[in-house]
C-alpha cells in the first residue's frame, strides 16, 4: 500500500469571489446610469482634498456621492461631508485595500438611481488595490509632485491598471523642482496612451480640464450606442 500523487486540473481564479461581486456591482451601476470613479494613491498624496474639491465643484450641476476607505478613523468622511455630498466611510480595520463586497455593503440603503457620479476612495496604498476590481467605470491614480517623478516606475502594476492619472499639488512644483515632462514620460512608459491631468486641488488650477473629462465620460455613458 503506497501513495502516489495524481495531478488534477482545476483552473480557478483565486479572486473569483471578488470578480463575481465586482461584476454584480458593475451591472448595478450600469442599470442606475451612475458613473463610478475609484481613486488610488499613496498615503498623503492629497486624495481627500482632491476628492473634496471634486465633490464640491461637481455638486453644482450633478448629483454626487462618495465612499471612502480607510484603515481607521472617520476623519476623511467628516472632511468630505463639508462638500455637502452624501459620504460614507468604509473602515477596513487592518485590510490594506477595498474589496467589491465592502462596496456592496456600504451601498446598502443608497439609491444609485439618484446619482450621476459615485466616487470610491480606496485605502492609501499603491500596491494591494491593483488586484481588486470594484466594478468602477474608471480607475484614477493620483500622485502629488512631492512624491517624485519616478512613482509610476516604482509602482507600474497599479499605474498599468488605471485608466487616468492625475498629478496634484502642482502649486508646489517649483518648490520641489518637479519635472513634469519626466513624470509624464514615466506614466506613458508604464501605461501608453493614458490621459494625464495636472492640477492643484488647493488653488483650483487645472481642475476644470479634469472635471470636463469626467462629465464627458458621463455623457458618453448615457448616450445610447449607435446601432
Amino acid at each position: 500500500m503506497g501513495s502516489q500523487p495524481r495531478l488534477v486540473e482545476v483552473r480557478k481564479n483565486v479572486l473569483k469571489q471578488n470578480d463575481v461581486a465586482a461584476r454584480a456591482l458593475r451591472e448595478q451601476f450600469r442599470t442606475a446610469g451612475v458613473f463610478v470613479v475609484s481613486l488610488v494613491s499613496s498615503p498623503g498624496s492629497g486624495k481627500t482634498m482632491f476628492l473634496e474639491k471634486t465633490l464640491t465643484l461637481l455638486r453644482q450641476s450633478y448629483r454626487v456621492a462618495a465612499l471612502v476607505g480607510d484603515l481607521a478613523t472617520e476623519n476623511d468622511a467628516i472632511r468630505l461631508a463639508r462638500s455637502q455630498a452624501p459620504v460614507k466611510q468604509i473602515t477596513t480595520g487592518t485590510l490594506c485595500h477595498l474589496e467589491a463586497a465592502m462596496v456592496q455593503n456600504a451601498l446598502q440603503g443608497w439609491d444609485l438611481n439618484q446619482l450621476d457620479f459615485l466616487f470610491i476612495e480606496n485605502v492609501g496604498n499603491l500596491v494591494c488595490p491593483s488586484s481588486y476590481d470594484l466594478g468602477e467605470n474608471l480607475r484614477l491614480v493620483l500622485i502629488s509632485v512631492t512624491e517624485g517623478e519616478d512613482k509610476p516606475l516604482k509602482y507600474p502594476t497599479i499605474f498599468n491598471s488605471a485608466d487616468v492619472a492625475v498629478v496634484t499639488k502642482m502649486d508646489l512644483a517649483p518648490a520641489v523642482e518637479f519635472d513634469w515632462s519626466s513624470a509624464y514620460g514615466n506614466i506613458q512608459a508604464v501605461r501608453p496612451g493614458m490621459p494625464v491631468f495636472q492640477l492643484s486641488a488647493k488653488t483650483g488650477d487645472g481642475i476644470n480640464e479634469y472635471l470636463n473629462f469626467l462629465t464627458a465620460r458621463l455623457d458618453e455613458l448615457r448616450t445610447p450606442a449607435a446601432s
Binding site: 500500500m1 503506497g2 501513495s3 502516489q4 500523487p5 495524481r6 495531478l7 488534477v8 486540473e9 482545476v10 483552473r11 480557478k12 481564479n13 483565486v14 479572486l15 469571489q17 485590510l95 490594506c96 485595500h97 500596491v127 494591494c128 491593483s130 488586484s131 516606475l153 507600474p156 502594476t157 497599479i158 498599468n160 491598471s161 506613458q188 512608459a189 508604464v190 501605461r191 501608453p192 496612451g193 493614458m194
Partner: protein, 121 residues
Amino acid sequence: MHELSIAMSIVEMAQEEAEQRGGVQISAVHLKLGALSGVVKEALLSAYEMACYDTPLQGSCLVVDEVPVVVFCPTCQLQRPLSSTQLFCCSECGTPTSEIVQGKELEVVALEIEEWAHNPA
C-alpha cells in the same frame, strides 16, 4: 501586504475541491502567477504556509508558475514578450502598447492529490 488574504483564498479553494472529491489529501497546489497580478511570489509562499496551518492542507506545498507579461504590438501585429514592466512597448520595434495578452493571472490551475494504491479500509 494582501498576500495573506490571497493565500487564505487559495487554501479555501483547495479545501473545497478536496471535499468535493470525497475528502482527498492534497499535497500540492499549482498556481499561475502573472507579473502584473499585484502579488509577490516570495510573500505569497510564506503566507501560504501560515494559511495552511491547522487545516487539512498543512504540509502541502504551493508550486508557483510565474507568467511573464506578453503584449500585442499593433505595428508588428504580433504578440511580444515585455522586456520590463517599467516600459510597455514592443520588444522588437519599440511601439508603445497597453494591450496585455497575458501577465495578470492569479489562478489555481491544478492540485496534486495523494492517491492510495489500495483502499486502506
